[in-house]
Every structure is written in C-alpha cells, then in structure tokens.
Amino acid sequence: MIIFIVSLLVILMLVAAVSAIVLKDLLGAVIASCMVSLIAAILFYMLQAPDVAMAEAAIGAALSTAVFVIAIIRTKRHEE
C-alpha cells in the first residue's frame, strides 16, 4: 500500500518537474515547481525527517514561489 502511494507521489513529482521546464506560461511553471517542493516535503515526512519537511514546505513551497511570482509581476507572463 505504502509503496503504491510513494510511487504515485514520485510520478506526480516528475510530471510537475517536467512541466515546470516545458510550460510556456511562466506562472504555471512557477506553480509546478511549487508542487515539486510540496511533494518533496511529503516524501521527507514519510522518510521520518519532519524538520526538513517543514523547512521545505515553508521555504520551497511558500517563500520561493512568492519571490518568483513577484518577479513575474515585474516582467512578462509568457515566454516567447
């Protein structure tokens, strides 16, 4: 059961990582990279590292996404 959940999470993470590179809409790419961080936080928690999971969720998913979104506000939303 647990191996099924973990494989699903890893596959989702890979899909999100690839779409963060491929997407032309930069806001979508930022949200996809946020999703990578969020799934990484869940996986860290499952590997019994809750300290790292907390840091990953707060910094990787929340703060770095905010920084990227502010950068997109300053520039253009779509890649050419």
């Binding site: 300290d51 907390m54 840091a55 707060a58 703060l63 905010a66 920084v67 502010i70």
Partner: protein, 228 residues
Amino acid sequence: MRIIVSIFLLVVIVLGITLALIAIPFDGSIGQVGGHYIENGIKETGATNIVTSVVLEYRGFDTLGEVTILFIAAIGLGAVLATGTKNKNGSKNITPASLIVYTGCRFLFPLIILFGFYVFVHGHLSPGGGFQGGAVIASAFVLIYMARRGRKLSMVPAKVMESLGGLVFVLVGLIGLAIGGQFLYNFLPLGVPNTLLSAGIIPIIYIAIGFKVGSELTGVIDNLIEES
C-alpha cells in the same frame, strides 16, 4: 551537435550521481557519531528533539555561520534593490484583492503566526525550530502583502528584532565562553527532558533565531514588493 553534447553530459552526470549514491549504505545501520548522538543526546543536552541537539549544541558554531550567511544575503538583496528613487504615490494603479482573498488572508494570518511561534518555541521538544518557524512567519506576511496590495508595513520593528536576535545568539555564546570555557557552553540547568523549560540555553537561542529569520525573510519579501 548541441543535442549530442547535452545527451552526453546528461549520461555523464547520471553515471556520476549513481556511482556516488551507490556507496552510501541505506540499510539502516548507524555510524559511530550518529549512534553517539542518538544514545547520549537527551542525557547530554536535555533536548528531546535530537536534530535540535545537534544543530544548536554539538554543531552550534556552524549554526552561527548559517545565520550569518542568511543575514548577508538579506543585506545584499536590500543593497542591490535600493535604487534610491522610491515612488511614494504609486504611479501604477494597483487593483485591490478580491473580498474572498482579503477575508481568507485576514482569517489565516493570526493562525499561521501562532503556528510559527509554536514551532520555534517548542524547537527542543518537537520537530522544527528557529529556521522553520521563522520561514512560516514570513509566509504569513506574504499573505498580508497579497491581501492588501500597496500597503506598506513599517520595517523598523523588523530591523530591530533582526538585530536583537543576532545579538542574543552571540551574547549567549560569549557568556558560555566566559563561564564554561567554550563558545555556546550550556551554562543553564538542563532541567527535566520533555518539559518546556529544559535543555538550558537551547530554547533561548532558538527563539532568537526564530525572530531573526522571520524578520529577515519578511524584509526580503518587503524589499521585492516595494520594487514591483
């Protein structure tokens, strides 16, 4: 040509990472140093969370370097973004956030702040600590900036807290140097493990780090928002 070179590089990197990772044992055996921390950590430092006892007790000086790196990064970002010309009147018309976003952010803000404080006050008992709690608090301030676009928070209290946090860390370390003969010597009584007032100087330092990291990351977000 570029594709062939990139595929070649990819293969080399994958091989390197695989060869590096294959040497690490993943069978659950613990080395000598780790075994010492797990067996004697609670007895020697009084902190139930072994990660905290390593971060602030066995490797406390490294943590001071880590805090310094974050401080220098925040200062550098502020210096790069300080262009000198601040358009106070806001030439661009800022569209206000919708009622749903505004109400949700106002509802969530105190809860997230409370959770951040809980994480770093209980850093020696439960998972988390100063860095994690500070990041959670900064993410609460991101919500405030989202809900009230164009609103300016006063950054003077944040700067004061940031400086006080760093000062408390170094002062506690120096008091330990004066009393015990080594930097960050745990000069307070260890107390009973699993209670809030235990582990000597560890809670004091983690609260200082929490305030420092929280105000620093909030300052980074504020600098970026001000420019946009």
